[in-house]
């Protein structure tokens, strides 16, 4: 196993009557992309802000690169890059000047900086926009600039706090590809999101958090096993399906059946050719349907299983 880059133990953060982070303990290992997944308000950003010493915490211990992290830990901060959810750039400076400014807070040498800025702009695909001002950029390009400003100094540890919120698909793919390249280049990434698809696609390991507590952690596949379902079949019904529900429940391996807004969702704990059984049942009972499809369980199913609510809530 790789070296530990971050060690958090017993972290507690309270706001008056609210316990935003409730005894979190976890580690982040070198060269991995750790997904921090949870619904809005679950405590993800608060945890990141505590790790970065932007917030004082009530209890716990935080170590980065084997050293205790604090507001004056400038030696540790040298190797950290942060991309916040909100874009943090100067409207008055061009794309190049913005990246140069934030890179300049870490790197003194002008020549090294020039090289680093070029590579950061290439990574996020902004080489052609160097002289543009932020107001001239689209939302997606602005997010990419935000990332370039956070990673230009080539940090060993990168925090990305929901960097793809309100981003077009092209920019989103560009951002996700860029993050993979950073990991491949040797960086450790802590990626905060509430988009489960992104977490599945990108992260080596995922921590699911809710109400300030870790409710599960592991790889995407190991987490999905917690959902206790193997397959989910969804049928868009056009006829009367209610009468079929008792019959479906009698089928082999069926865990649960939900019928809502014309959609019938059947969860299976195992088995094979489950979709064939369902089609046969609909035909034999002469109930019409428009579409029928089968899915593997998602992280949302894991969340639903563990908390009884949807991740998107």
């Amino acid at each position: 196993m790789n070296k530990k880059v971050i060690e958090v133990s017993g972290l507690v953060k309270e706001y008056k009557n609210l316990r935003a982070v409730d005894g979190l303990s976890f580690e982040v290992y070198e060269k991995e992309i750790l997904g921090f997944l949870g619904p809005n308000g679950s405590g993800k950003s608060t945890t990141i802000n505590c790790i970065l010493s932007l917030l004082k915490y009530n209890e716990g211990d935080i170590k980065i690169f084997d050293r205790k992290m604090g507001p004056d830990s400038y030696e540790i901060k040298k190797n950290i890059g942060v991309i916040f959810q909100d874009v943090a750039v100067f409207d008055e400076l061009t794309v190049y000047e913005n990246v140069d400014y934030f890179c300049g807070l870490y790197i003194r040498s002008k020549n090294t900086r020039k090289e680093y800025i070029q590579s950061a702009l290439e990574l996020v695909g902004l080489e052609d926009y160097k002289k543009f001002r932020p107001k001239q950029l689209s939302g997606g390009l602005l997010r990419r600039l935000n990332i370039a400003c956070g990673i230009a100094h080539k940090p060993k540890l990168i925090f990305l706090d929901e960097p793809t919120v309100a981003v077009d698909p092209q920019s989103r793919n560009n951002i996700l590809d860029g993050i993979k390249k950073l990991r491949d280049g040797g960086a450790t990434v802590v990626y905060t999101t509430h988009y489960m698809e992104e977490a599945e696609q990108l992260c080596d390991r995922i921590i699911i958090i809710d109400k300030g507590r870790i409710i599960a952690q592991g790889t995407s596949d190991s987490l999905k096993k917690l959902a206790k379902i193997e397959e989910k079949i969804t049928v868009e019904v056009s006829g009367q399906a209610e009468k079929l529900i008792p019959k479906i429940k009698e089928l082999n391996n069926v865990n649960d059946v939900v019928f809502e807004n014309g959609l019938l969702v059947v969860s299976y704990g195992g088995g094979s050719d489950n979709i064939g059984d369902i089609i046969d049942l609909f035909r034999s009972n002469n109930v019409k349907y428009n579409k029928i499809y089968s899915e593997r369980p998602t992280l949302n199913d894991v969340f639903l299983e563990l908390t009884g609510k949807e991740l998107r809530d």
Partner: protein, 381 residues
Amino acid sequence: MTVFKAFLKVVRNNLFMIILYTVILVFFAVINVSSGGGTSGFEDSKPAVAIVNDDKTSPVTKNLVDYLEKNSEVTDVKGGGEALNDALFYREISCIVYIPKNYGSDVLCGKEPELKIKSTGNYDATLSQMILSHYIRIQNVCAKNTETETELIKNINSSLEEKTDVNVVSNIDESALSRASLYYSFASYSITACIIFIVCLVLSSFNERNIRKRTAVSCMDTKKYNMILLLSSGIYAFAVWLVYNILGIFIAGDVMFTERGMLYILNSFIFSISSLALAYMLSTILHNKNAVTSIVNVIALGSSFLCGAFVSTEYLPDWVLAIAHILPTYWYINTNDRLSHIETINFETVLPLLINMLIILGFSILFSIISSFITKKKRTE
């Protein structure tokens, strides 16, 4: 250097506003210079006088008339009594001298006859009466010691010829001083606006929540970062002060290289420090860039109007001046006004000016304390 360079780049972005405030100042200064104002040196003035002479034949009376013609502008008002009164009313003449019948012979007899005078009562009328009294006094003294008309006239004229040299004690070039005073007083608006507007705008960019957050997680020491921002603001304010003083030298001329000129420059320097402190204080409160323009207008224009930058304080009502006392601009303009009026520069005359400057520095300290209090409070929140 990174922070300082970025500071300058953001300032460069607002160059238009800096130029605008400077152009306003230069425009006002040029208008002021072209409209003139003030006087320089000593000038012998001659009041306008009308004479009603009922003793035209006497050589003694003729000598008096000749004296008046020489020392004042004797105006021939045609149309008699009513016309004379009108001329007096409309200030075409400052006084009417009535010479009675037998005036000459009465003087020769030592009777000291009285001349009737009707005047406007203004400065020129007083001057006319002084000229006349001077002559009458000499005439009366001479009349006691002479018996013939010729001898009397000769004695009067020889006594009148004794002249007194006029030494101008004050050598103030009032015209240049007036220009300097008006320029520096009006500059209070441009200095305040230019420093507050730009410093607030630039610092609001640097203090923007997300940028501040990103800087806080960087390896830049927060105290060092704040110090660089403060120094950058100081350098900018110094540059504004320097440019406005160079313009001041062009406008007011050589007076700026005198002790008095140095005091104008020192006063503006101290005022620039207070404007910087005020700007820094406002930047800790203001985070909305759009609000900066409105606040600058309220503060710069408001204080300039209240404290007499545009309209002299002597025309402002007492209650306005009472309010103005709580603003540094008032003490700055008060110093400029005093500087243009004091006759000589010495410790006694300069002391009140230094006290004014200390008051302005007091304001700067107060603004700095408030800024630091607000910053600390925000940090603990």
